[in-house]
Symmetry: D2
Subunit: 420 residues, 4 copies
Amino acid sequence: MTITPPALSVFEALESEVRSYCRGWPAVFDRAQGSHMYDEDGHTYLDFFAGAGSLNYGHNNPVLKRALIDYIERDGVTHGLDMSTTAKRAFLESFQNNILRPRDLPYKVMFPGPTGTNAVEAALKLARKVKGRESIVSFTNAFHGMSLGSLAVTGNAFKRAGAGIPLVHGTPMPFDNYFDGTVPDFLWFERLLEDQGSGLNQPAAVIVETVQGEGGINVARPEWLRALAELCERQDMLLIVDDIQMGCGRTGAFFSFEEAGITPDIVTVSKSISGYGMPMSLTLFKPELDIWEPGEHNGTFRGNNPAFVTAAATLDTYWADGQMEKQTLARGEQVEQALRAICEEQPGVHFRGRGLVWGMEFEDKPRASAVCKRAFELGLLVETSGPEGEVVKLLPALTISPEDLDEGLRTLARAVRETA
Amino acid sequence: MTITPPALSVFEALESEVRSYCRGWPAVFDRAQGSHMYDEDGHTYLDFFAGAGSLNYGHNNPVLKRALIDYIERDGVTHGLDMSTTAKRAFLESFQNNILRPRDLPYKVMFPGPTGTNAVEAALKLARKVKGRESIVSFTNAFHGMSLGSLAVTGNAFKRAGAGIPLVHGTPMPFDNYFDGTVPDFLWFERLLEDQGSGLNQPAAVIVETVQGEGGINVARPEWLRALAELCERQDMLLIVDDIQMGCGRTGAFFSFEEAGITPDIVTVSKSISGYGMPMSLTLFKPELDIWEPGEHNGTFRGNNPAFVTAAATLDTYWADGQMEKQTLARGEQVEQALRAICEEQPGVHFRGRGLVWGMEFEDKPRASAVCKRAFELGLLVETSGPEGEVVKLLPALTISPEDLDEGLRTLARAVRETA
Amino acid sequence: MTITPPALSVFEALESEVRSYCRGWPAVFDRAQGSHMYDEDGHTYLDFFAGAGSLNYGHNNPVLKRALIDYIERDGVTHGLDMSTTAKRAFLESFQNNILRPRDLPYKVMFPGPTGTNAVEAALKLARKVKGRESIVSFTNAFHGMSLGSLAVTGNAFKRAGAGIPLVHGTPMPFDNYFDGTVPDFLWFERLLEDQGSGLNQPAAVIVETVQGEGGINVARPEWLRALAELCERQDMLLIVDDIQMGCGRTGAFFSFEEAGITPDIVTVSKSISGYGMPMSLTLFKPELDIWEPGEHNGTFRGNNPAFVTAAATLDTYWADGQMEKQTLARGEQVEQALRAICEEQPGVHFRGRGLVWGMEFEDKPRASAVCKRAFELGLLVETSGPEGEVVKLLPALTISPEDLDEGLRTLARAVRETA
Amino acid sequence: MTITPPALSVFEALESEVRSYCRGWPAVFDRAQGSHMYDEDGHTYLDFFAGAGSLNYGHNNPVLKRALIDYIERDGVTHGLDMSTTAKRAFLESFQNNILRPRDLPYKVMFPGPTGTNAVEAALKLARKVKGRESIVSFTNAFHGMSLGSLAVTGNAFKRAGAGIPLVHGTPMPFDNYFDGTVPDFLWFERLLEDQGSGLNQPAAVIVETVQGEGGINVARPEWLRALAELCERQDMLLIVDDIQMGCGRTGAFFSFEEAGITPDIVTVSKSISGYGMPMSLTLFKPELDIWEPGEHNGTFRGNNPAFVTAAATLDTYWADGQMEKQTLARGEQVEQALRAICEEQPGVHFRGRGLVWGMEFEDKPRASAVCKRAFELGLLVETSGPEGEVVKLLPALTISPEDLDEGLRTLARAVRETA
């Protein structure tokens, strides 16, 4: 496939220099269906990025599309602030019936605004309010969002520098396997907590991703997560799982923490919750934490009702039984086999992942970018992650066909070979 | 009209106590069209709130609805991160042609995430980065959002307390007319800036709303805004106009600051920019401020393409000429006459406003809530604002018919009379 | 008198560039007695600066000197941490008998460390602990010290910049007469406190100097101080009077706030409390505020016992009756007359003051420095103050003879004339 | 020896509850000479605390006393702000000749105010100013002072809580041997610095004590200090050694870091620098860091000239050759032998130390207090340290006679035995 660089003039002339993905993927996209995107010049791309995990059910999933168009056609409420609506009720009931009740999760549901960072900001506010402390512990290479509260618990130095103010009230701790198993888990963290002279401000909460997506596909072991949950319990800290990217089935189960058998105090959900790529997010928490005053946190778009409609359709369609989880795990094995083959063939390449989130780390760090560039030329959309962009990150739609998955993995293998 | 309180069980059982509007308007809304909302029990409500200013063109505006459904039907890209898409290009071109170019505004356009607070966070980051200073000056009774950066420049003590950490780096100054004209404008602010011993940290920027919506419909005079712009220029501070609620034609012109003849350094736009109530926001700034590095600020839903589609349709339909502005000003006069009549009849009631944003302040502060409650019973949706909820706030759709407007104003007059 | 610049080599070679007074007064001082200092080259200087208010009883006051030498000779405890000592007891008894009891002041006494900034840090800590709030209100052109807590409530931009971190948790309000009487007192402050939407974080305390020394000899009127005390009472804020420079009789009465008839919640005392120029400070507070845990604040030199000895001697000698106050007020009148004469003769010069602290402000700001320079050449030590160094500040010893005072005032008049 | 509790009435009635040492040592001290203190009831105490390290040359050392009285007698300048004085010159010359030059240390000397926390505040300000960063790394169980800047890098949770505001801009790292040698030195610290995604704000400086006194007599190994110095060099961070308690010969050499062969960028000195227990402190730094503006940091008592006089006498008397160092190390061996014997006899007691600073840690933590209490009854002054007060801390004067040292160690052994 040969791709002629499109005319990007209005983007270059008018859009801020902050734009990013459009630089790595110099095409003007027009349509999308399932695992494919189409640019205006007629090129087709197989999408292994899925809106950074926002499109777990593929682009413009037909089931959701039908529900969405029906809703729009019949003039269902589009913008509802936090008024009660029939769409919101349908979502809440579906969420309770398909997700919370079968998992015996007691959570209250908050609509904190439609983006992930809104959900994180609400979670941090609530944790601080409940515990009456300011400090939050996060982990190395964490990513939680770009507004100031979320950014303060995000690891990336480049993004932190963008704040323009010193980011405080957060302390990083080593994520699982940060020292390749040479140091006992939580040795440093627990010692700081127990030592009255350590200088650590007593944290209100710990915020963690079970798999760090932006951080480089770092996978926490279930036993590490369990030990963390126990540490939080023991030390009177709330446990916040940020499941924005890894929730909604990305790792197999609906919530990524289910495998570990833990029940976080607070959970943030966004990205794929609407199923259709529309902005929506949730902050879930144990009922005893629900000490919010009415309106103490608000937001104009927290009632994005079309998103509620597709969200409910998603849950009813994909999460009424365990099929989706099984399928994701099966597809994950398919990916794992392919990556193993690549890594056996290519020295200096390592892989890791879980469910349908996988990463290939290159010892020769710039090579990861080269692989993505070559993959793009070959019609495959993949992106890097990790603190130095040294990891190629695979986030195919959960609904991808085995054939498309296979094709993409073959393209990827070729891109790796051709950048050796 | 008699309204039976609906069964709200799932909302009460599952949704967080933070929910708010649903308490004042105890109905379950189902459909909406233009200036009307319909609940599941068949009641009709005339909407004088318009999604807190997000629905300037009415609910589910048919022109936009057509464009939206067409886009969805043809599988246009829904979720696009910050990839280049044909929908984004169409929006950018329309925004340039209909808005920026005719007004001779030089702005670069940033998509900071889909909500107003995303736009404010990006504006503050950029201002701090450009000036290398942390401090921001805001105004009494300002409202800029709920994430930590925005909340720090928001006045409301109740919402600030929700942060759970001390909010710093912001200093409030008196908004226009804060002392009823008894103190010269900017006397305090300018003196602090000029006095090297004042203790004010030199601000990177000043953030202001031309009309404070949440703050109680406080209208800044054009001459005050001009003096503020000159002060910023003189004292090397960036001027940020937060036009999230007052932009998109709410005050007549597309931008609320046009009347004053000023060109802010940075402008935030959200709420009605998509036209259809879908999450979308913009941060605009002078090109010399565009010192962002690629990806230094990002966000999952910053490429909400269906919103771009309706946004472009809005601009092409309503902003290709000056008709919308004229109509808004005409409707505003209709409101003004009605409010004058109410205030002449009722002692202790005062009104103020501009374009199609108006407020009625009650000296007997709790009466404002009583008016809204009575209005709801009479089928009219209006809300309070102001630090103690003492102002009834009118934000009808700009597209409301004179007849509907008249009906709503008569209902309002009745609610005022009946709460005397 | 002609002064040859002395060899300053070791100072220039070894001492940090931060040194300051030695630059304006290029002499190497050797001895001092009463109101005179003597340099190593045999020049004599009349001292109108008195250690920035630390030498209210003159240099090496003979009464105190005797007590001090006796104490040292008999091996009295020099360094006592916060152990109980006979010297500390004698001081406490003298302070109670001569100062607190006659004035009916109920204060507990804390030894927070030997410097003024220690006393301020302790005062701010205690206020925050008592009220459970972080924010402190200070005033324009306030000076409270150089450690981070004190610096955050100090106005001077140059000194603030030295912090290297953003100084937060403090908000400046206009000091008395900041707008030359054109704005009602506390208009802005009280409005911010009463307006729930103002954006002001509710303060734990207000810290104020009754006369701002470093700020330019700005004298608060008694009625302004009374109104401030009432405002604090009404708004549940603690009132801290920083009497470090203006206490110990500088304005006439022992405490500078006595004239206003107020009883601050917390008072900081330092500079002249030891009487002999030795480091010592006190933080005084109402007994109900004494919620400190043992050792919660400490400091190595908080038990500077030789300073307790001279302090007790000072109180017994000068404060057992009202003579000192009368004499100070009389000397103050002598200064006032002289300054009036100068200002009547010289256009663009204004004076203000109280007790024995006076300032001459020059409209031609750099002239104040020129006056000090010329005065030094003429054998008189005076310094500038004010945000731009535009005020010549007179702080003669309270014990100065009328003849010396007259001589210094004549020298000053000559320096003013010769810089016209 | 039987001790009747003295009448403490004025202390109890008037002094704040914050008082601390006077509670553990319920006597009223009157005189002191060398290693002995005398209370007003005629009891004698052997002092193993030495003003928390401020009296390295004993109480009221006769050599210094002579110099001090002579200076006072001849009316030498007592209070000199930062004017040049003959006393300051003599000190600077003595410091250069006896201390800096022989050790080839290039430092500029700053007089930051007379207390240790003043010196630390100045050091932190300068480091932040030089590097343009806010963040400082400190170590677990560090103690640097009670003003807000110093407190933020102090570990003790109880003292931190006294701040009344969240202490930020500091991050603790594990001190040497924090994990009993099971984790490689600086593993965590260096990894955080190298990982661009770690979330650690890039530090301006690292502040460290070579032996943590308040923290429990934790002794850093020379190789650990060297590795720290190299890490700072490699990672562009300034190294600040806080030598307030451990400098002035406490560990043998004048500076405690000499043994490690490192040259810190900034050094803070206080406590024993005046030699006589009078408030004085220094901030030393490499000349290229001397970017202070004149007067950017100041303080009323930074020119405590009597302290300069005794300081110079100290240096001339004790530091003109290597005798003091040898003697201290010899006395240290005497202590070590005695402690070894105690610990061999008593299970659950461990000792550590260097030079003449030693600690005995009790596994049964409250026993350390009991030992101090019993020692006091037996006429020996010793105090606890460590996060839970589990360490008895020995800080005898460096000038103590072998006989007195022996007597104190025997009393200590008895107190340990009697609390078993």
